[in-house]
């Protein structure tokens, strides 16, 4: 064991940093740095730059067109991207449907879909949850009935993130309603331009629009868009969720969040001194930093197991639990640091990027909306209650 980077790894780190500095558009970097909301094109420009370099699908093995990074390289890549204020890579294509396709898809599907995911020319979104099926995903009811060489899809999906920007959606649909819930589900790829699809925004507590309900009304989907076998989609679903839960820990973003919090606490005043000199508050930040470190080393241990050939297992659920709680704690302490200047609500500045002057410092108006919005992290990707259920059952055998 050795915590230090080898000379090769150090060389790789230098290469990544040089690449990000040369290729991350300056306006996108500034938006991320100042906590502004990104639009589709902001993500696409960065992801396409990464795609050209072959790094967008940095978790993929070489045989599917990925760079085949070692765990150390993945760690270096993710951390440097976060340190340089690169936007998070949208996971729906790269970390979710892509690996499902190269693991369960046909050769034709691999040829059809993987290049566009690697190059980020197509935007994917996720059709999992339904209004009646949240934590109990297997109870989903969106129906796909076979009609010749098509499926006819009817139903609705919810908590669909950024679907209003998407070209394609991957969906879990019910193809058999007679067997056990998990056994009648199939995994379908659907072009968002297909007639019969309607996307309706859901407005969140911070006033923003990032999630949608998606309605399917007699949507015709070619049978060749089925991934894996009919009625065996639950296997793909579980595989995808395990991958999703790994990325969800967001360690590099949390490290960046702690640093940003310290910067704010250095500027904010408390009895004529910087807030960071307030012992109680400084200890809260210290406690948070220790939590992030514990999470980081847990993730490194998981990655190291995976490098020796293992698939991410139930321990990944632990990463999701702690990662999501830490993300929430960062926003909580940031709001605490900002204090009463968290109160002004400036939707124009927050959502439309207007030139409206902020009230107080630039970071102040973001603190409360972030805190409200980040409550989602312990809910999405399988709520933390569900994750704990998985660990107690799969790891502890309870």
């Amino acid at each position: 064991m050795d915590l230090a980077f080898t000379p090769e790894e150090q060389k790789f780190a230098n290469e990544v940093r040089a690449f990000v500095r040369a290729n991350l558009p300056a306006d996108v970097r500034d938006k991320v740095k100042n906590g502004k909301h990104l639009i589709r094109d902001d993500y696409m420009r960065w992801q396409q730059a990464l795609g050209k370099k072959g790094w967008l699908v940095y978790t993929w093995p070489k045989k599917h067109g990925g760079p085949g990074f070692t765990p150390a390289q993945r760690y270096i890549f993710e951390n440097i991207c976060a340190e340089e204020y690169a936007p998070g890579i949208i996971p729906f294509g790269t970390k979710m449907v892509g690996p499902v396709i190269y693991t369960f898809g046909t050769e034709a599907q691999k040829e059809n879909y993987l290049p566009a995911i690697r190059e980020s020319t197509v935007w994917w979104c996720q059709g999992y949850s339904e209004p009646g099926s949240g934590s109990d995903l297997a109870s989903l009811r969106t129906k796909a009935e076979k009609d010749g060489d098509h499926y006819i899809v009817n139903g609705s999906k919810t908590w669909n993130t950024m679907g209003h920007w998407a070209d394609w959606i991957f969906c879990l649909v019910r193809t058999d309603s007679k067997s056990k819930p998990q056994e009648g589900i199939s995994f379908l790829l659907i072009d968002m331009k297909t007639p019969g699809i309607t996307v309706k925004p859901i407005i969140m507590a911070d006033g923003g629009h990032e999630v949608n309900e998606v309605f399917f009304d007699n949507v015709k989907v070619p049978v060749e868009n089925l991934v894996g076998k009919e009625n065996e989609g639950w296997t793909c679903a579980k595989f995808l969720l395990a991958n999703e839960r790994l990325g969800i820990a967001a360690v590099p973003q949390s490290k960046r969040g702690v640093e940003a919090l310290k910067d704010i606490a250095r500027v904010e005043q408390d009895n004529g001194r910087p807030l960071i000199e307030n012992q109680s508050f400084a200890e809260k930040i210290a406690d948070l930093e220790i939590q992030v470190t514990a999470l980081e080393f847990t993730e490194l241990r998981v990655l190291s197991q995976m490098a020796q050939g293992g698939q991410p297992g139930a321990e990944v659920s632990g990463l999701k639990i702690r990662g999501s709680e830490i993300q929430q704690r960062i926003t909580e302490l940031t709001m605490e640091a900002v204090g009463e200047y968290s109160a002004p609500y400036l939707p124009g500045l927050l959502w439309q990027g207007t030139n409206e002057e902020p009230v107080g410092p630039e970071y102040a108006h973001l603190a409360a909306p972030r805190y409200f919005n980040t409550r989602k992290t312990t809910i999405y990707g399988g709520s933390n209650e569900i994750q704990k259920g998985i660990i107690s059952k799969m790891v502890l055998g309870l």
Binding site: S129, G132, S133, G134, S135, D136, S139, T158, W159, I202, I203, M204, A205, G207, V211, E268, Q269, D270, N271, G272, L275, S280, F281, M335, E336, G339, E340, Y341, S342, A343, P344, Y345, L346, V359, G360, A368, P369, Y371, F372, N373, R375, K376, T378, I379, Y380, S383, N384, E385, K388
Partner: protein
């Protein structure tokens, strides 16, 4: 000892409860939020008619002789309805400071019309650097003939856009953060040199940034004693804190009730999710938290009139710590148990959650009051 409400207090509770239930349905509230003022004059007129604007003031001040318990009763119901009318800045803070420190002439000119519903106030104390230190004030008032000239900035002033008069905390002497040397001024909201930037707040109230550029006021604008406003402000803020704690208990009751209803009806895995023990225990903790919040609010409402400022301050800080803790627990738990629905704009829980969050930040958060309480309690 008797902790039960009198018949009159019960009637007050019923009428406040009815007001919140009838006038503050979710859809009605949404409409009120969208109006220009952000509150309804007809509701304010009703408050005056029902005697709520004068209930906590002595009869010699033109009030109806009630006190903190009456304020607690009404504020709790305001919390249940997430009521938007500016009762806190006008009556609790503005009215409270005028009653405590105002001259007979000021009471006649300000308090009497306020009780009739004809005057509203805002309290401008916070500055960019102040955080929770009520003495960290740099807006300067300098002598100008027989009167004063005010220059500087005030932030997050609730109700400034609707107020007839702004009560401004200014430095007339002393150095930064010195409690001595602060003076309160009653400034006409339309005074020359006073400019405003208005905005809504996270919890759908209205506030403003105020800039004072050589705003001239007469000697009669001074509320209380020159250089000696700090004890008045500290007491007024302690009273406001206790009133806000009552509002928070109303919010907690409402958010807990909504969550309980949700977990009884929302089904997953073939059963109501309230059948899962992990949610049962969390729901129980929500109720326990709300009970503690209610108890501390009652304690503080009973002690806030104490002649010993330490007793008063400990009561207010103790209650605020409890409300910060309980409010956060109930708010976060309600969202978590509602799942994604809990953070949508269309559900009332997200609105209660936002108000509870902002209450913690106002006039000192949990940490601030824990430190204050600890300093007071360990010194004794």
């Amino acid at each position: 000892m008797d902790l039960s409400l009198s018949d009159e207090q019960k009637q007050l509770q019923e009428s406040a409860e009815r007001f919140a239930r009838e006038k503050y349905t979710f859809d009605n509230r949404r409409k009120i939020v969208a109006t220009e003022r952000g509150w309804l004059p007809e509701n304010w007129a009703q408050f005056a008619e029902l005697g709520w604007l004068g209930m906590a003031f002595s009869e010699e001040d033109g009030g109806y002789g009630g006190g903190p318990i009456e304020t607690m009763i009404v504020m709790e119901q305001f919390g249940k309805g997430l009521v938007l009318e500016p009762f806190m800045p006008t009556v609790v803070l503005g009215g409270g400071m005028i009653a405590r420190a105002g001259s007979a002439a000021q009471k006649a000119a300000l308090l009497a019309p306020m009780i009739e519903g004809k005057k509203q106030f805002a309290f401008a104390w916070l500055e960019r650097q102040s955080r929770y230190n009520l003495a960290d004030i740099s807006l300067k008032a300098t002598k100008e003939g027989t009167g004063w000239s005010l220059s500087g900035h005030k932030g997050v002033v609730y109700n400034a856009a609707s107020a007839d008069d702004v009560i401004v905390l200014a430095r007339t002497a002393g150095s930064a953060r010195e409690p001595k040397g602060l003076t309160l001024f009653v400034v006409d909201a339309k005074a020359k040199g006073l400019s405003r930037r208005d905005y809504p707040t996270q919890d759908a109230l209205r506030a403003s940034e105020l800039t004072f550029d050589k705003v001239s006021v007469g000697a009669d604008a001074v509320l209380g004693q020159v250089d000696d406003a700090f004890p008045v402000v500290e007491e007024a803020v302690d009273r406001a804190i206790v009133a806000m704690c009552a509002e928070a208990t109303g919010c907690m009751d409402a958010i807990n009730a909504a969550t309980l209803e949700y977990i009884k009806t929302r089904k997953q895995f073939g059963v109501a999710i309230g059948k899962f023990q992990v949610l049962q225990h969390r729901m129980v903790d929500c109720f326990t938290n709300a009970q503690e919040a209610r108890s501390m609010t009652l304690m503080a409402s009973l002690k806030i009139d104490d002649k010993d400022p330490t007793v008063r301050a400990k009561a207010a800080s103790g209650a605020k710590v409890q409300i910060g803790k309980s409010g956060k627990f109930c708010g976060q738990s309600a969202v978590q148990m509602h799942g994604g629905m809990g953070i949508t704009d269309e559900m009332s829980v997200s609105h209660y959650f936002k108000r509870l969050t902002m209450i913690d930040l106002m006039f000192g958060n949990q940490q601030h009051h824990l430190t204050r309480y600890s300093n007071l309690a360990m010194a004794a």
